[in-house]
């Protein structure tokens, strides 16, 4: 660790995302997932945490359609969606939905993680409709 920066706690999560996996801290004592990452389990305060891979499955909790580019990198993507996705393990993540038009987005729709290759060789987390799901 380089210090007390919150980014240090999140580094394994971020590194895994760039490789195409979602990992989060699971408590060895009570099993609860802590996200965003930190020095202890948010439920029981145990410091015994193990990085665990999430299934990538979840549901669409809420979404936004941006029509304004707050950063030039998004100017050619308008209008684009951003969703709050509730993972089946519990935590909620922000990510875009792909494989569905903005008009097709529905609260509660079943989603699965899909990692998109980026120009720098890393991957970006997105979710797509989970057509295999009963949801």
């Amino acid at each position: 660790m380089s210090g007390a920066a919150l980014a240090d706690y999140a580094a394994p999560h971020e590194a895994a995302l760039r490789e195409g996996r979602i990992v989060m801290q699971r408590c060895d004592d009570c099993g609860v997932i802590t996200y965003p990452a930190g020095p202890c389990c948010h439920a029981c305060l145990s410091p015994a945490l193990t990085w665990a891979e999430m299934s990538g499955r979840g549901t669409l909790w809420a979404y936004v359609i941006y029509h304004h580019a707050f950063h030039p990198a998004f100017a050619d993507k308008l209008p684009y969606n951003v969703a709050l996705v509730r993972l089946e393990e519990g935590p909620q993540m922000i990510a875009g939905i792909t494989g569905a038009s903005n008009d097709e987005l529905r609260n509660g729709m079943a989603l699965v993680a899909r990692f998109e290759p980026q120009p720098d060789g890393s991957r970006l987390l997105k979710f797509r409709p989970d057509t295999d799901s009963q949801g």
């Binding site: 999140a10 965003p36 979404y63 936004v64 707050f70 998004f74 209008p79 709050l84 993540m93």
Partner: protein
Amino acid sequence: MSRITNPLRNKVAIVAAHATMQGKHPDRSAWDLGVEAYRGALASSGIAPARIDGLLTQTANGGQMDPSRFGQMVGLDPKVTGALTYGTAFFSIAYAAALISSGQASVVACVYATNQRSHGFANPADQIPANERHGFFSAAGFAALGYQRYLHEYGRTADVDKLGAVAISQRAFARLNPIAFRRDPMSWDDYLQDRWIAWPLRRSDICLITDGGVALILADANLAADLVDQPVHLLGLGRQDALGGLARGDNLLIPQMRATATQLYERTGLGPGDVDNLQIQDAHASVILHTLENYGFCGAGEALDFIQDGRIGPGGPLPVNSGGGQLSEGYMVGWLHQVEAFRQLRGEAGERQTSNCRIAQFCATGGAREYSGSLLYGTGAVAEMLL
């Protein structure tokens, strides 16, 4: 059943409130705007600077409004000096009330000023860059997620445009407020032609950024009547936070406000039906919906209908943000709402005066929906009645 007590009953009053013109002040520092507000609060109340024994500031962009430096600037040697960072006027008022009710200070000046419109706005340190790579920007993102979820939960997605009643009502009030930044008329046509920023929110649903300053002076309620003619009494407060943020739990509709409401109303023996003038810290128009419902001004899922037909506008039965709010008056993170409540309860609000205004309520929440706080204010007659 244990009797609920109100620790702030007859403890604290606002004795002065002053706001600068809101808008663009490119040649002025936050310090300068803060001094103007402070000077105005003293001048309008006749309170001598020597009476100030507590100084609280809310720090602003670029490290401005540090309380020690501000106190040095205006020649104060108070008993207590303190600061709270970016957030809401609620924090400073609750802090001042704690200082006064515990006897640490008796007359506390609270000052906030910023020149963030002209000189840039530093985001709080807890912004998550991880979300920005997905294009999730600005506190408007949180509010838009909340409004979308709201529309879904109550089956009102087809009525998304009805939110316009908030911006239109508040603009109508701002047109009656000489210090408001946006005073041009806004019709339904204007609103509906306005562009989406983050659907379901339009530009008009999102707060302004302005330069300006506000100063409040709070005093021990027993001193208040000796200091000024018409003190405005703090009747009580409530506060409940929810720190799971977006990552954990269901905080989008700010449900912790319900616990805040229960605290506030039980402590004071008052309820939403007693409120003559409602002040809601409106980072976004949709916060009005969540606040009206969670505090019980209307039922869950009813707010989009409740706000129609001028009900929350000038002359309506429940004036909301009668100074114009952060959508039209200026963006002082809830500070201007205190000035407006103070003026309304003293009958000094001119053309936008709420008739027979005896009780006002302020409700705060943050852009990331992590806290909620609320205050009830009353005239001297109301405070006496509650004794």
